[in-house]
Symmetry: C2
Subunit: 306 residues, 2 copies
């Protein structure tokens, strides 16, 4: 099975702690490496976990609070200094271009590679990137400033055709291609043969949904429904619900509720307030609603769909 | 004796490594805490070394290459989130104000404290800050973009008057004040009595000079002459002199030469290229010219004047 795995690089909320960095995640889908948010220190985290960051060609920035993008210019500069020539695609609030260009103007820096900007349009379900392995869509989150989440879905990996079926149904090349991608077969007499009778080892495409930062918002549910892995911010315990509402964040209980209502397979919580030295109470609170919950822990890698 | 000590927070050059952060230093002069440059990750380094960063009221930024200031907005934001109300003084290239304001505009952030900007005028020996304990002057460095170094000098700490001298010379209050600060005494008959005969325990004010980033430039020498501690960048070994010239940096041999010519008491080298995993060759090279050289090492504190 192709890789579909998430590595946490930073899991703190706005104020980092001595052992928690601001938000950044690295997603590997079939050796495509996607960086999701890029808080201060992300390039050091990538080095710490021995990841060659020139392999990243697509960076997704949810919004322009500093804890989600202040590591970006340092990373882009290091990519330049280390000889990058390949285009880099940046899916981000359009204003980020002005921020980066003002800084490069004053440092008199000109990168030896192109940044291709893909400014957010803040539409639910909008396809913003795809290739032959993966597609990425936006979700509109409910935060103090415009903010997008992202849903990463692998494309159907073709299954294996049972050899005896080719002659049994006298299959054409075109029929075989459709069957390997999950279609059922309709024979010349109109009989429908279920895919599973002809194709083996066909996997359901997996999905990773990233939701940070946001108020509790059931409006997200249609767009993250059934995800194999949902990352949902859980900045506070539910005892701090007022503070969560005031700052447009979510409690662990609420994150569990969203996971349950969206019928996801697994929930990962993160974006922890610096006040929580011990994360277990956050985990327990989310688990009280949705059992299959895990903590985002820096340096840990989670296989999506397991 | 009052504190005058330097703690290294980051010592790498532009590309940080897994164990070396970009430039930042914390200087404590008589419980005034000065932050000198603020590379990415500085706030995490301050936390790691258990320093309360609200005690910093003065930040000095040498120039606008990212490895010297990209940690600033994160630190300023955390100061805000943690309840800062006190003014913060920022001595920096004037363009930094535009950079910070563009970012705060797009994140819709308004700090609950004032930033007082003191833009560099790039003059040698210009007094940019003083209080009753310390004064700070700029040095113009020779880099690819406008860049200042800083010279921090403690003010004269009054000595102790030998009690019997008050009646012996029939000293006025005004004469005592001048004597305690180092003046000699001129009696009514014109005799000059050396300060040391009347005052004990008078210390020579100490000086810390910070030079990063710069080409080898003997023009700096008059402004750092006799410093108790000189920090001078040493990005490369001398075998890479061409690269040093091309990038407007200095070799370890050149840093030692500047220290020797300026007759400083101690040299600290830093701003190491990421290519050097082992720093000993840099130290040995500088020592071949100037023996009393030490390495900038993150987390280590050096008492200035010892």
């Amino acid at each position: 099975m192709q890789h579909f795995e998430l590595t946490i690089l930073g899991c703190s909320s706005a104020t980092p702690t001595s052992n928690r960095n601001p938000t950044a995640q690295l997603l590997n889908i079939a050796e495509r490496f996607f960086l999701i948010d890029c808080g201060e220190g992300t390039q050091m985290q990538l080095r710490k976990f021995k990841f060659k960051f020139q392999r990243i060609n697509h960076i997704f920035i949810s919004h322009l609070h500093g804890d989600h993008y202040l590591g970006l210019l340092g990373l882009l500069s290091s990519m330049h200094l280390l000889g990058r020539k390949d285009d880099l695609h940046l899916y981000c609030p359009g204003e980020l271009q002005e921020i980066l260009e003002v800084q490069n103007k004053h440092s008199q820096t000109f990168f030896n590679y192109q940044i291709i900007y893909h400014p957010h349009t803040y539409e639910n379900g909008k396809l913003i990137m795809q290739d032959n392995k993966v597609e990425v869509r936006t979700i509109v989150l409910n935060h103090r400033i415009p903010c997008c989440g992202f849903v990463f879905t692998e494309k159907q990996v073709p299954g294996n055709i049972l050899p005896e079926m080719i002659s049994k149904y006298n299959l054409t090349v075109e029929e075989i291609m459709h069957l390997k991608r999950g279609s059922d077969l309709t024979t010349s007499d109109g009989t429908v043969v279920p895919n599973a009778e002809i194709i083996s080892n066909l996997k359901t495409p997996r999905t990773y949904a990233y939701c940070s930062d946001t108020l509790y918002d059931e409006g997200l549910i249609p767009y993250i429904k059934g995800a194999d892995l949902l990352y949902h911010e859980s900045t506070f315990l539910h005892g701090m619900l007022d503070r969560a509402k005031q700052t447009h964040h979510t409690t662990a209980l609420q994150a569990g509720t969203i996971a349950k209502m969206a019928e996801v397979k697994k929930l990962m919580i993160g974006h922890y307030s610096a006040r929580y030295k011990d994360l277990e109470p956050l985990l327990e609170e989310a688990k009280s609603v949705f059992e299959n919950t895990v903590l985002a822990i820096e340096g840990e890698t989670t296989e999506v769909g397991q």
